[in-house]
Symmetry: C2
Subunit: 287 residues, 2 copies
Amino acid sequence: MTAAPTSVSVFGPGLMGGSLLMALRQRAPDIKLGVWARRTAVVDELKLRKLADFGGTDAAAVAADSQMIVLCLPVEHLEKVAAEIKDVLPRNAWVTDVGSVKKSVVETLEKLFGRGGCFVGSHPMCGSEEAGLQAARTDLYQGALCVITPTSHSNPQAVRAVSALWRTVGARTIEMEPAEHDRAAAIVSHVPHVAAALLVELVRAEKPSFRELCAGGFRDTTRIASGSPDLWAGILSSNRAEVLAALRKLTAAATRIEGALQSNDTDALRAFLAEAAQHRFEILSRS
Amino acid sequence: MTAAPTSVSVFGPGLMGGSLLMALRQRAPDIKLGVWARRTAVVDELKLRKLADFGGTDAAAVAADSQMIVLCLPVEHLEKVAAEIKDVLPRNAWVTDVGSVKKSVVETLEKLFGRGGCFVGSHPMCGSEEAGLQAARTDLYQGALCVITPTSHSNPQAVRAVSALWRTVGARTIEMEPAEHDRAAAIVSHVPHVAAALLVELVRAEKPSFRELCAGGFRDTTRIASGSPDLWAGILSSNRAEVLAALRKLTAAATRIEGALQSNDTDALRAFLAEAAQHRFEILSRS
């Protein structure tokens, strides 16, 4: 058993951070909740809603009072905030993040936090095309998968504490190496995002009248393309080697389907579609 | 005003045909409903459920009693059934279909039915990955778009009657030329289907552990890949020239994104994602 931290602070209360505060308040009412945000108004709102017991706009001051710090910031902003808090962390305080890319983040933050492996990366896989505190909800993590990415430098206590935190809010946890996580995320999330955006742009380039025909299938297939452009440009850029490799596999496979269409090989098309339908069923029924 | 037909027969009571019978029974209880199916048991079930007043497995016999015939069959089966009924149609009986591909279907069936332009193509855009009579529901057509594809050969009365039929069950109707419909369907529906199947196969080709990470975004993006392989192989094959052209546009666009990733052009990635998010909003808010 890992003792629950007496205080957890969220740095960046958007969809992920705000939902974490809501879930912790409901499921672990004994934990003191802290918040760091850029704007005082956001801190005040969270205190008013009883979702934060302490907090402010001074990162070091908030960190100094926190046993567990969850950095819920876009990947490109993590380093700056981490640098501001690294020297004031209480003894046996642990730090994690919620970024969609892990290798570069873990390398940077492990080096930065140094001493004792207090940083362990997390990626709770329940983001959505929505964003911001107004989209936060108590059950965001319920039933979601959270990938924890410890390394040989990680403090085992930190790994246990971070995993326990996510389980407290209802997530299942698995451990993966950071590089392995990034390969997997490129395949199951980042390239699907690119594909969804490409499908939107395919329609956009055609006559306006074609848009009339966009029905439920198009809506679902492209839903993730409504995600935050800033957030996703950061994700794709941070994970560009893996995204590029996966996207090339996708275009190579598309070229094979083009060949089947060109030669009107209906059997090959049927086999391709039958395998995809069967595999989708297998992939999504494993949990 | 177009007088409602006194009898409407569905040939092939699956998801589309079964839903049409249910909707007509509810919204137009004065219309006699007929059904043709391959198996007597299906006809009997529909009669028992009061969704058919007459019908059987003899296509010509059912057609002879019908003022409006709706062929709800996979595109590759349309010609055979149409040939069986073409000589027995009552005077001023109209025929339509629900196929996802129109140019080849309309050319074939217009020639086959000949006299008077009694055939007019339809494509109600509300199919789903579900299939079969058990998936049918009364409100399938409610709010859906139905594309009607008349030609210069079509009898104007038939066009009005077919449009009125779809509006009776709650659909909006628009008219498009068959070839134009097929270009649009390739862009908004057929290529997204191929892309969804390609994304499933991308995951499938990787380590089984990657599947653990498939979350809600993957589920939505690939939902249509669970559609009937037989149905969709027929659709892709029938519309292969347009699907091929659209798929090539998609892979060309993907290659441009690969270039932006390779040169780590985050501004280009952000612009691409921002346009897609904005355009998706515009495309889907037009209705």
